[in-house]
Amino acid sequence: MDNQKTKFSVVVTGAPYGSQSASSAYQFCAAATLAGHEIAGVFFYQEGVLNASQLVSPATDEINLPDLWATLAKQYQFPLEVCVSAALRRGVVDQQEAKQLSLAQFNLKSPFVLSGLGQLAELSANCDRLVQF
């Protein structure tokens, strides 16, 4: 398989700030696309769901990981799937969930989407390699 295009699915379980693992995952995805491989999609689970917050506001001399994910996903057209149950527990909600839960605010960043674990099953089936961070 070495000389052909490989399709990766990536599972991110770390927060965008506080531990390095989400940033390692991003760099892995960036390197994979750079090498001409394909990202089937990234699934955010556990603390990883916090990568999908539009409210993450680091200082100007620091990277904004949610922005980096959004840019890479748009450029290479892969989905950023966020496990909805892990997200709600950790305070990451989209506009629709906010309405349903009677919350006045929401914070999901586009193009991240809330989805079920079925999406992980699809990413798992639809890739050559699954990588976890």
């Binding site: 490989t6 390692s24 760099q27 892995f28 390197a31 090498a35 699954l130």
Partner: protein, 96 residues
């Protein structure tokens, strides 16, 4: 064949130790993030890691060494592109 990735220091967690317990003959160990110190410091698992390194089965992520100002004494330095290639080369990856 598994690619084991470990991200924590052998002085903080037992991830490397628990990983070595299950490491099979053809498997590779890649040290990333804080785990890169295991390639430099004197710790109880150093000798075991050196054996792996001598067999070409210990990789150390270059960028994480540089970030911490650490020089590895054992293991093969590798880039993120090499990391991608390692994942392709192995059937599956196990994150510790």
């Amino acid at each position: 064949m598994l690619l084991h990735t470990v991200k924590t220091s052998p002085f903080q967690t037992l991830a490397i130790s628990n990983c070595l317990d299950l490491l099979a003959d053809g498997d590779t160990l890649l040290l990333i993030e804080d785990a890169v110190v295991a390639s430099q410091a004197d710790h109880p698992l150093y000798a075991q890691l050196k054996l792996l390194a001598d067999q070409g089965r210990l990789m150390v992520l270059d960028a994480d060494l540089e970030a911490r100002g650490i020089q590895n004494r054992i293991g093969t330095r590798c880039s993120y592109l090499d990391f991608v290639a390692l994942v392709i080369k192995h059937q599956s990856q196990l994150a510790w």
